[in-house]
């Protein structure tokens, strides 16, 4: 990854009639990074990708690729290539001709085309399948052909529109690693659109989260998980317990807050939060909570409750604990170390939390 910005979006907006799909999008993508645009369906992420590809012109703002203003430059003249959600494998061409399609548009010598197609297919582990018909391919193979067909063009940026959504779970997980390796080997900038937070987190260097046409936060996956800038992102990425809290003291990087169940805690201020005040909201990830029969020692905050539901996931167990003073049960997850489920619904139980794992989410936007 270099410091050079390969894509710059400046104040990009897209309107369809009265509907604004993307508004005031500002984003710099570094050369060689794997960037994901993450968000629920209809948040404008695909529209943003299509404006980079050139399938849609922004209603306002500018798109720069490698320093060049892309205004008026159609998709067929941009240094980008796309992997489509449906893969869009040409059904009337075999694998070799699918991959060679773009190279033939460039008037490259046949021997070079053949060589580059062979290399591209080997790269996606489909070596020797040139003659295979497009309709005889499995889902995973179609995905690989789509990748090879785009990468053979040696684009400056590869755009991927929900590239794994059509695959089953096992294959999807395998392809996540393969695509990540491929991207790192080639050093090409990948921009992926996805609604799957796990996909985005496992593959990306950085993630941009979009809601309602707006880019809300851009960060590396661990930062995004640990320091989400608001409640929406906190609940969209991973699981989160939300609690109201009252700020009694504020000093530099820290806050002293009173919580309804864990007492008084000194927590870290979240620099990503835009709006804050006296009444804030805090978040606790389920895996950060300790759960035990006895009152846990050495925890900054503890509370007693009653187990309401138990959900066994295999790799871990989720307990929903009803606590006095909190309406919604608090979720706590425990790794399944010993293949046992230690607590039953109705059991009295203690929860413990360290103040360093509590996330400041800024001003409480939920009406109490």
């Amino acid at each position: 990854m270099t410091e050079k910005n390969i894509i710059q979006l400046q104040g990009v907006e897209k309107r369809f009639g009265n509907f604004t799909a993307v508004s005031d999008l500002n984003l710099d993508l570094r050369e060689g990074e794997f960037f994901s645009l993450l968000g629920p369906s209809g948040c404008g992420k695909t529209t943003a990708l299509r404006m980079i590809a050139g399938f849609q012109e922004p209603s306002a703002g500018k798109v720069f690729i490698d320093g060049e203003d892309m205004e008026g430059i159609p998709a067929n003249s941009r240094p980008t290539n796309m992997v489509f959600q449906s893969y869009a494998i040409f059904p009337h061409l075999n694998v070799g001709n699918n991959v060679a399609y773009g190279l033939r548009n460039r008037g490259i010598a046949k021997s070079e085309i053949d060589q580059r197609v062979t290399e591209a297919l080997e790269m996606v582990e489909l070596g020797g399948l040139q003659e295979r018909g497009a309709t005889e391919l499995s889902g995973g193979q179609r995905q690989r052909v789509a990748l090879a067909r785009a990468l053979v063009m040696r684009p400056k940026v590869l755009l991927l529109d929900e590239p794994l959504s059509a695959l089953d779970k096992k294959l999807r997980e395998q392809m996540q690693f393969e695509m990540r390796h491929l991207q790192q080997e080639l050093g090409i900038t990948f921009v992926m659109v996805t609604h799957d937070q796990y996909e985005a987190m496992t593959m990306s260097d950085r993630i941009g989260v979009m809601f309602d046409g707006r880019l809300v936060q851009v960060d590396e996956p661990p930062t995004l998980y640990a320091k989400p800038c608001n409640r929406n992102i906190a609940s969209f990425i991973g699981e989160m317990n939300f609690l109201p809290a009252h700020v009694t003291e504020e000093n530099g990087k820290g806050l002293t807050v009173t919580t309804p169940c864990f007492g008084i805690l000194d927590i870290e201020k979240n620099p990503n939060v835009a709006q804050t005040g006296r009444d804030i909201e805090i978040g606790i990830r389920p895996e950060q909570l300790e759960i035990s029969r006895e009152k846990p020692e050495d925890y900054d905050g503890t509370v007693q409750g009653k187990v309401r539901d138990v959900a066994f996931y295999g790799e871990n167990v989720h307990y929903h604990v009803q606590v006095d003073g909190v309406e919604k049960p608090i979720a706590a997850s425990v790794p399944n170390y010993f293949h046992t489920v230690d607590h039953r619904p109705g059991d009295p139980i203690w929860l413990g939390v360290q103040s360093t794992s509590i996330i400041d989410l800024g001003q409480n936007t939920i009406k109490s």
Partner: protein
Amino acid sequence: MKRPNGLAVYAFLYLVFLYLPVLFLPLFSFNDGTIVAFPIKGWTLEWYRQLAGQETLIQALMNSFLVGFVASLLATSMGLFAARAYVRYRFRGKKASEGLVMLPLVIPGIIVASSMLVLFISIGIKPSLTAVALGHTFLALPFSVSIMKSAFDDFDPSLEEAAFDLGSGVIETFRRVTLPIVAPGIVASLLVTFTVSFDEFVLAFFLSGNQPTLPVYIWSQIRFPAKLPNTLALGSLLLLASVALLVVAEYFRRRSTKSTI
């Protein structure tokens, strides 16, 4: 064996009433006699043999081929573009225009024929094969539009985007991607519209002037009892050709809806 129920009997009778009269045509075309009545006098291929020598018949056949060729080509190319627009885009007046295109299916042929005659004469096109071909294009358009629409329905729009993304221009994309993928639909449309034109009588009767198409020729021959067996033989051949064409067209239509998974 399962006992036939009421509906099965109904369906059987329905098919008999529908197709029995049609089957009389080939049956009597092999009858060794000029009177079309039972009992069959004997079997002969004479009527078929005589067809080969009739020059006016051959001429009418050629006229029909020419008209069918032109009409199917015109209707299919217009249908191709119209169908792509109907399936891909939303635009003002789309529903109205789709309805208008289908109108020839429901307007009585005699109305279409007489108004076309008036129209063509007023703009200087005399009754001729040209007039028939234009009229048949109009009649065949609904068929080609609906066949091409079903071909485009199953056509993933990102295929065209992918071609464009890989550097093709608009025309190049159409030639290398769109056309090959909808090709089975185009073949189906050509065959069906050709059949529509080939069998059409009313419009051809009004517009053909002194260049009769085959159906018009057959109608003129049917008035002479001695020629009747010849006409039956000709009709049987046409029946066979039409069925064959439609079977082939249906094969291509099904292939076109299967080709883009």
